[in-house]
């Protein structure tokens, strides 16, 4: 029994040290290929989020629906996800979205905005329970006009 215990005492710290607790995951993009000709589809509804230096703009491909200035030097992601959720309720069949950024925006903001557009968490059926709802998971990115 003591030998077994000795083995455990050695194994547990060893495995604890080698264990990886921060997991890397990936975000897949739907990018148009540069070789693949003109992608001419009829102008349908498409969610567009434009990230500017000091403001987030939400559009539907034709007009700007809402513009959310920075609050305390942070992008207002909560009101963005509220607006996106409202758009999803109006267009439940649409999945594509574009995130358009100005060139000096940091990469971190791109990921955060993509998160807000991709899914949101809503209160579930039970009290205090949150469920994640997919909004527009097909995200492509590009330059801000």
């Amino acid at each position: 029994m003591t030998t077994y215990l000795n083995l455990m005492v050695v194994l547990v710290p060893f495995l604890l040290i080698t264990a990886v607790f921060s997991r890397i995951t990936i975000v897949e993009l739907s990018l148009p290929s540069s070789a693949g000709g003109a992608d001419l589809v009829e102008p349908t509804f498409r969610v567009e989020v434009i990230v500017r230096e000091d403001v987030l703009e939400l559009g539907d491909g034709k007009t700007v629906i809402a513009s959310m200035p920075k609050v305390d030097d942070e992008y207002d992601l909560q009101s963005l996800s509220k607006h996106v959720l409202a758009l999803k309720r109006q267009n439940p069949d649409s999945h594509g979205a574009s995130v358009l950024l100005e060139s000096q925006i940091e990469y971190d903001h791109l990921i955060q905005v993509m998160d807000a557009v991709r899914s949101t968490s809503l209160p579930g059926e039970k009290e205090g329970e949150m469920t994640s709802v997919a909004l527009f998971p097909d995200i492509s990115i590009g330059d801000a006009p």
Binding site: M8, I24, I26, Y107, I111, S121
Partner: protein, 161 residues
């Protein structure tokens, strides 16, 4: 006096069975945890942004973009400052290295990496979008058309209304 000696006797005969039970469970848990091999190694010098996505990384060509330099499949090819200063959408150095990766196939793992025609970009939080965009457009122009961005997984925010 008699009670004290009884207490001492109890401590001396410490029961190790429960401790062993705990250790056994811990060892199995950690073994299973470490058995799920990591496809991507977290580089020390860059901090990835956090996201709630749950997609697992695959074996692909890996591009690191730290705050100073760009590394393709383990080889340093360009500096971020040069990319920022350069005109045009493509970065020649990265493109050449990508073609080199898909041309020189040594061993099975490299073959699967090159044939996947996929790129995973691990970029530092603070890198400007301009650089990422140039790197991505270089990838697509060299035929690597499926691009994934690596992030650190964070727990989905349950507190948010």
């Amino acid at each position: 006096m008699r009670r004290m000696s009884r207490n001492r006797a109890k401590i001396a005969a410490l029961n190790l069975t429960s401790l062993m039970d705990v250790f056994t469970i811990l060892v199995f848990f950690l073994l299973v945890n470490s058995a799920s091999t990591e496809v991507l190694e977290t580089p020390k010098q860059l901090t990835l942004p956090a996201s709630v996505v749950e997609e697992k990384p695959r074996e692909t060509v890996v591009i690191f973009v730290s705050s100073t330099e760009v590394t393709v499949q383990g080889e340093r090819v360009a500096l971020v400052a040069d990319i920022l200063a350069a005109d045009g959408q493509n970065v020649t150095a990265i493109g050449e290295r990508l073609s080199q990766v898909s041309d020189t196939i040594l061993g099975l793992s490299t073959r699967s990496v090159a044939n996947s025609r996929e790129v995973t970009i691990l970029a530092d939080k603070s890198v400007p979008f301009n650089v990422i965009k140039k790197v991505m457009s270089t990838c697509t122009s060299r035929g690597f058309e499926r691009i994934s961005l690596a992030v650190i997984q964070k727990a989905s925010e349950t507190a948010q209304g």
